[in-house]
Symmetry: C2
Subunit: 354 residues, 2 copies
């Protein structure tokens, strides 16, 4: 089980360090893990002048799975587009064909108070957003900023989805729904965009192979509303890269504790990159304040999806639940009556609970 | 003051009828209004085989302002793309150059309970979303569904913004912010999309002419989160057509009473189309159950923005506040202890309060 560890920028190194402690503990107990570290994003630019340098490419390609902290920081804002930390992230996704981004939005009962939504609206929330990650307007050509035929400057991008791209992400969504409540909601803007009209057609076709799964369709504007109005109506949501970017962040925030949410980005063979949903939080970086649980839970997803070790995955998830029940909280999820702990303090608690 | 009345489909005719009663009342008191009616959307297709037929084009072009109910219904789902009700709406926007879509998200104190968000998060909410309405991926060429170079079917659309398109919508946003709290948040995805990187550059440039307005920038995924996390941080949000479609619907739903929210779509000379933010609600059409207040408030926006009659606009808005304070509620905003009224009953109450 070869795992590439990419700490990244900001709080990345500190949260990843805690997840590594959890993995090391499982390794000490016999899980055959091999962990190797390389830089990505701003850290990689600083060291190699490239946000996804060759040393990282090599390690990532050879690994079975990748654990990433987060990338980005204000000190990189002035860099040319190609050198910015985000480009490292987009390039590794594309390079490794990580087309299936799984982003669960789960409300932990212990943290229900953290949500800005009323408890009855979000209690028990458990949505899985399946976002296509290597196509769409993120990668579509042509793109750029140029002078158009009318002699005016303009910016332009191309939204694009081929049948095979849609088919494979739809299959992922239906497969996952079969192991959950059996409902898939495909989100599009088919009333305006031909690209998503085509998306809807292909998803509908794939659904024929999954008679036990119930497929519905929703326009993206309505989905953004329904997530606020009645989020528990959703089981699995499948959508394209840009709509998925927006809706998955909205859905995460419904829980009020984005510091708890992991994600997986998988290729066709379940090789995956695992990372927390939250960002690099430069404002608290290096202060041992960050919440490492999303990263620790990302390691659990890795054991589940890439290594098929449901047992080990659940052990980590149970340990996380235990520390929450015991009242340990990092600053982002702290409530009075609980015990405030640092990033490494939370790591201690999880390792102990394991 | 020539006003084209386009009742549209579903609940459109019933809600527009109540707004027309309000306008007729002002006319009887001396406001020089001329009201003429024509079909749009499905109703126009049924009558003329075209969702935006010539008779409607002529009336809309000659009018100073347009009051629209809503378009769409399941009976039109099977029609070819060009015949669908939404196409009528997109065509009238483009035909009349209605590039500035203003969508307020306001929480009425009397209806605070309707929100799914906690009262402290949304009380006093007052956001103005300024959405560009005639450009972006909605209208960008090329577009379609074809067989690509690899021999595979694919769908594609083009996101596109020229400098002049961005400049004029940015000006609208800054002008509005000057009359409000003086804050504009421009929403983009400049870290990924060149089109919106260009958007950000031009908005930043326009801001130089508005030293009293404070401009910030936010990625669209973060904006979708922040609307849930802390919506009161926003004053004016300006963004492109597709991001505006998604975020304005999300923002409306924060109030919990989308049946209360009007909108304006303006051209360069303040000619405008005014319509409720909600849709045609086919399920309750013809039952005299719909909430006409968003349409009545759209008529108030018309008097303010197109006819410069702040006095008359405020009179209508005050009348709406009065009926809410008196406890009148249509079914969508009903709470126990209030008096449930029909669509026309709500119209009666507003006319009486005027
Ligand atoms: C950093 C950015 C390029 C990235 C994206 O838009 O995909 C992020 O928002 C995410 O969702 O992982
Ligand atoms: C009906 C549809 C074409 C329209 C849009 O996407 O603009 C609607 O959602 C809106 O926001 O007015």
């Amino acid at each position: 089980m070869k795992i590439a560890i990419l700490p990244g920028d900001g709080i990345g190194p500190e949260i990843v360090a805690q997840a590594v402690r959890v993995l090391e503990k499982l390794k000490a107990e016999g899980l055959p893990l091999q962990l190797d570290t390389a830089p990505l994003g701003g850290a990689a630019y600083d060291q190699y002048g490239d946000p996804y340098p060759e040393v990282t490419q090599k390690l990532a390609r050879e690994a079975d799975a990748i654990l990433l902290g987060a990338v980005g920081g204000p000190q990189y804002d002035g860099l040319p587009r190609d050198m910015r930390p985000e480009r490292g992230l987009l390039r590794i996704r594309k390079d490794l064909g990580l087309f299936a981004n799984l982003r669960p939005a789960i409300l932990y009962p212990e943290l229900a108070g953290a949500s800005t939504l009323k408890p009855e609206v979000v209690s028990g929330l458990d949505i899985m957003i399946v976002r296509e990650l290597t196509g769409d307007i993120y990668f579509g050509q042509p793109r750029g900023i140029h002078v158009n035929e009318a002699g005016e400057r303009e910016g332009f991008n191309t939204m694009r989805y081929s049948e095979s791209e849609i088919r494979r992400i739809a299959k992922v969504a239906f497969d996952i729904a079969q192991k959950r409540q059996g409902k898939v909601c495909s989100v599009d803007k088919a009333n305006v965009l031909e690209c998503t009209e085509f998306w809807k057609e292909i998803v509908t076709d794939v659904a024929k192979d999954y008679p036990a799964v119930q497929l519905s369709h929703m326009y993206v504007d309505n989905a953004a509303m329904q997530l606020v109005r009645a989020p528990k109506q959703f089981d699995v949501i499948v959508t394209g890269n840009i709509f998925g970017d927006i809706l998955s962040d909205e859905a995460s925030m419904l829980t009020g504790s984005i510091g708890m949410l992991p994600s997986a980005s998988l290729d066709a063979n379940n090789k995956g990159l695992y990372e927390p949903c939250h960002g690099s939080a430069p404002d608290i970086a290096g202060k041992n304040l960050a919440n490492p649980l999303a990263t620790i839970l990302s390691a659990a997803m890795m054991l589940r999806y890439t290594f098929n070790r449901e047992d080990a995955a659940q052990r980590i998830e149970t340990a996380v639940k235990t520390v929450l029940q015991k009242g340990y909280r990092t600053a982002d999820i702290y409530e009075s009556g609980c015990e405030k702990v640092s990033c490494s303090g939370m790591g201690d608690a999880v390792v102990a609970a394991l």
